[in-house]
């Protein structure tokens, strides 16, 4: 496959914002809770227990903030470089936003991606990887919007529409070839 961007700008890992380091000895409630898959986890091997669901649910747990979302997805590998989305600055902390819906029943997570080149044909796959990672890790009360940051991609609108079409995403998750790629991207997630 032809490489989309042979010489991407790379950030040093030590410069990336992260809470993972401090938490190594005392993992947060959220991180330990990552194992039970919440919704439609295509990788789920075990069965989810109802009690887990309850203890993890909503307000009981510390509020999930932007940094935690960042830590969940910045470690995803790029499909064509041996680097993470954080290192390539595809995922950036200031481009993650959490807003509570007025009803407070649900919260919205908006993640804006910055592709390394503006014609990157892998943008959809990267976006799908981010979605899968967050759907696995976050409780079902989160509504995800994964978008390409405005002006950073030549077909951004099309990519956005696909990435946020529930039916297309669900269907993609049933596509073994595509999921093989996504699974590989997620191998580096902590």
């Amino acid at each position: 496959m032809e490489t989309q961007n042979a010489n991407p700008t790379i950030l040093s890992i030590s410069d990336l914002p992260s809470r993972l380091q401090q938490k190594k000895t005392a993992p947060s409630a959220l991180l330990t809770g990552l194992t039970p898959a919440y919704v439609r986890d295509p990788f789920a091997t075990g069965t989810e227990s109802a009690s887990d669901d309850e203890s993890e649910d909503d307000s009981v747990v510390d509020r999930i903030d932007e940094q935690e979302i960042y830590d969940l997805i910045a470690t995803i590998s790029d499909p064509e470089h041996p680097l993470t989305l954080g290192e390539l600055a595809v995922i950036n902390l200031p481009h993650i936003q959490i807003t509570d819906e007025p009803s407070a029943l649900t919260s919205r997570v908006l993640v804006e991606l910055t592709p390394t080149v503006n014609h990157c044909s892998l943008a959809t796959v990267i976006g799908l990887g981010v979605r899968v990672r967050l759907e696995q890790a976050l409780p079902p009360r989160f509504r995800l919007d994964v978008r390409i940051r405005e002006g950073t991609h030549s077909t951004g609108d099309q990519v956005n529409k696909q990435l946020n079409d529930k039916e297309r995403v669900a269907s993609a998750l049933e596509n073994e070839t595509l999921m093989g790629v996504v699974r590989k991207m997620l191998e580096t997630c902590k």
């Binding site: 079409d165 039916e167 669900a170 269907s171």
Partner: protein, 396 residues
Amino acid sequence: MKLQKITSLPPHPDRIWSIAVHPTLPLIATASSDRTSRISSLLTYRALSTIDGGHKRSIRSVAWKPAIKGESVLATGSFDATAGIWRRFEDDLGSSTGGEYADDEEEEWRFAVVLDGHENEVKCVAWSAGGNFLATCSRDKTVWVWEEMEEDNFETIAVLQDHTQDVKCVTWHPEEELLASSSYDDTVRLYREDVDDWVCCALLEGHTSTVWCIDFEKPGSPHYVESRSSRLASCSDDLSIRIWTRVSRSGDASTVKAVPSILRGAPVEEEWVHEATLPKVHTRAVYSVSWSARSGRIVSCGGDGKVAVYEEVAGESEPGPESEPCESESEPCESEQAKPRSEWKVVAELEGAHDVFEVNGVAWSKRWDKGRKSDGEEIIASCGDDGVVSMWELVD
């Protein structure tokens, strides 16, 4: 008014995409990501049987074949690119006990036919009012019309390629052989048969994002106007629900005869206009909309987890020369007909209908259970990402 839960059916282990209420029997069917469809009783709200083994991927849509006796026929549409036809004999008791099986044995559903042809995911299946046509649509951008030539022998009579993207939903007019489809290309299209060919006879533009679902107004419901004969509701990712009205049609056998024409007939064409937009309730994509045959109300649901019910009321008539203000709220004024100035209002809105989960489908049903107070009573069924079907009544 408010929506009060009657009960919930035992959950599927995975998302329920849609539900279908049987046209005459107290039965409801689900379409689930767990690759099964479950049939439950609307008398007892117990699961009766599960249809599985026919599809390799998620079942996205189910539809009961109307206008048949002695048998139930269900069509399923799946992400595995096929549609399935399933049959089950209803014994004579079927109608009197309303589909409740005599013993606990699951009655056998027979996987009768696989309909192949679509290139990829089938998104929706729908039977025509007479039951002789089945429409299917797919991410492959096409709408197929199948005709059942004899039992279990389906022939493709049309492949409609008018949409430029993924086709999300198909539905038939409740009386005419008029088919509607909605798409990821933000439009709704209507099709009719023209001599030998099915052709697109109208294009409804206005939504600014994917149109997820469409439903026709049912004849005989309140506010239904014979002369107008057709209205359609559409709901979209743009968060709106629109009402469209047919204002004219041509090329129809009945209307063409009167008009001398140079060629063999006027082109099959219909003109539809955007008549109203329902009050905005949803804050995320509106996935499903259903128009009641009994009350004329509309129910909608979406990614925000809400279920909302809307009612059409004779609006405050514009200060006009003639009409007295309409006294009765429940009956449409005759004088309004010429200048329909009705207004839609929200009569019930429920947050978190499926807890924190998204709600994928809603449907009206006649009420059959023991709690029924009157004959015309209706209930709402909803399904969600939690794998649950819930039944709702509207109470004051």
